[in-house]
């Protein structure tokens, strides 16, 4: 069984993002970039499925600038077999990425697409659901456990107030939540090996996809800052202030 694992190049989660002075976006020049953490979890899950003998091949794909090859290499070092970069400079919205992935699914015929539930840059939480819709496949979003057997994927999902388990007929799309697994660090020998694994580069137009965005970003700004309040000296003072000043208890 073949797995397709989309990975996105995003600003590293440890970087404190800064809004550009002209309010057109956030500063991404000279900022550390990494694989979206939720996608890393998806790659790890795919590699585990391969180690268990459930999956036979893992194809890591990314849609983004030429530099996104670095993130594909990271996936290859973790255990993916080969990569595809759909090269495009500029914004790629989830709808466009879903169309790109649909075209790649038509070419590669995977039984399962495993991906992060959302990217930590635009926080849209949409591409997996949209890909499933375009393919007419079932979706298992926010997965904290995935089991594949007998042509089905059983997915435990993180929902408000607890967990929910659904069974999906394969082929299917599953999106990874935080607690699905803890991604491994690639070992040096595997990083070396990953350099020899092939990455194919294609353009959205070759896949028949128009990359034009539907949303225009008019302005990006910092959220209003909260002012730090006062320190209180004791529990008694705290309760007094909450009762008589803030009047919230």
């Amino acid at each position: 069984m073949k797995l397709l694992v989309p990975v996105k190049r995003v600003v590293d989660y440890n970087v404190k993002v800064r809004v550009k002075a002209d309010n057109t976006g956030v500063e991404t020049a000279n900022v550390k970039m990494s694989m979206n953490p939720f996608d890393e979890i998806a790659v790890e899950e795919a590699v585990r499925l391969k180690e268990k003998g459930v999956a036979s091949e893992i194809v890591a794909v990314s849609a983004g600038p030429s530099a996104a090859q670095e993130q594909i290499r990271t996936a290859l070092a973790m255990g993916a077999d080969r990569g595809i970069l759909v090269e495009h400079d500029g914004v790629l919205e989830p709808l466009v990425v879903a169309k790109i992935l649909k075209a790649l699914v038509a070419k590669e015929a995977p039984q399962l697409v495993l991906m992060g539930k959302q990217a930590i840059d635009d926080d849209m939480n949409a591409t997996g659901q949209m890909l499933a819709a375009l393919l007419g496949w079932p979706q298992g979003t926010f997965a904290s456990k995935v089991e594949v057997a007998n042509g089905e994927a059983t997915v435990t999902r993180e929902v408000d107030g607890g967990l929910e388990t659904v069974t999906l007929k394969l082929p299917a799309v599953v999106t990874a939540d935080l607690r699905l697994n803890e991604p491994r660090y690639a070992s040096l020998p595997n990083i070396m090996k990953a350099r020899k694994k092939p990455i194919e580069v294609v353009k959205p137009a070759e896949l028949g996809v128009d990359p034009a965005p539907r949303l225009t970003v008019l302005r990006v700004e910092e959220p209003p800052k909260r002012q730090a309040g006062a320190k209180v000296a004791s529990v008694q003072e705290l309760v007094e202030k909450l009762r008589n000043e803030a009047k919230v208890i």
Binding site: K16, V17, V19, V26, E93, P94, L95, A98, I120, D121, D122, D123, M124, N125, A126, G128, Q129, M130, A133, P138, Q139, T141, F142, T154, R157, E158, V159, D160, G161, G162, L163, E164, T165, V166, T167, L168, K169, A172, R179, R214, L215, T216, V217, L218, R219, V220, P223, R226, A228, G229, K231, V232, V235, L238, V239, K241, L242, A246, V248, I249
Partner: protein
Amino acid sequence: MAVLILADHDGSVVSQPTRSAVAAAQKLGEAHVLVLGEGAATAAAAAAALPGVAKVLLAEDPAYAHRLAEPVAALLLALAPGYTHLLAPASAAGKNVMPRLAALLDVQPISDVAGVVDADTFIRPIYAGNALATVRSSDAKKVMTIRAASFDPVPATGGAAPIEPVGAAASDPGLSRFVGAEVQKSERPELTAARVVVSGGRAMGSAENFRLIERLADRLGAAVGASRAAVDAGYAPNDMQVGQTGKIVAPELYIAVGISGAIQHLAGMKDSKVIVAINKDEEAPIFQVADYGLVADLFKALPELEAELAKG
């Protein structure tokens, strides 16, 4: 112009985030609420009682009992021609189904809307709430999820909208099936709807110590939250997590105990009206957003706080 809101409900009442979505819808046009499920008539009556709702659509069918994304998106697609905007609260259920609907409509969804500028222009947080983007959609229909903390919910009663049954959409594709659910049963208010939230962090040290948070919460009639660090350490279940990767809350009073205040946690609670921080590290970033900060050992402060509150 009419706006359709997909309601979250528990079989009897619609959720508070749904009432916030109704409030957001009122800025866009006539609000219609879709209630679906099996035996959802009581919830439909609750939706009809929301002030400002013009019509409730009730879809009762076993296919919607567990709100699987595939049949629900198919139903919304069938209803979409009558609407300019299709909304859901940014809950697990809303986030699951709305992007699927958007793709079926060939529309780019707008997730987690925190502000309505006009019918095409919306404000939403990006980068874990570290920036706010104002975006204008060129799509003919808008598919959106609504960030509950950003809109004051409409009251639960006062309206009297008609309820109209709608048939099930084209046959259930049967792509997925519901196996089971493990729902935490609690007497405490729901985290995203609570007036007061008490949250504990890694400094709680153990799941047993976390009970101190629960006791304080019960004293205040509050919901219990946790930082990601506390959840990862196994002190609290995942669905208590407050933060960008967990729940977004905006209660009247938020008490953060033993939480340092990582950016990802702040993104989930900084819209709270009054924030109290109790932490023994006076340099902890949580104090930069707290209205009242107490530098103290939480194991001393929590019992004292409970005793002081008991004095009433």
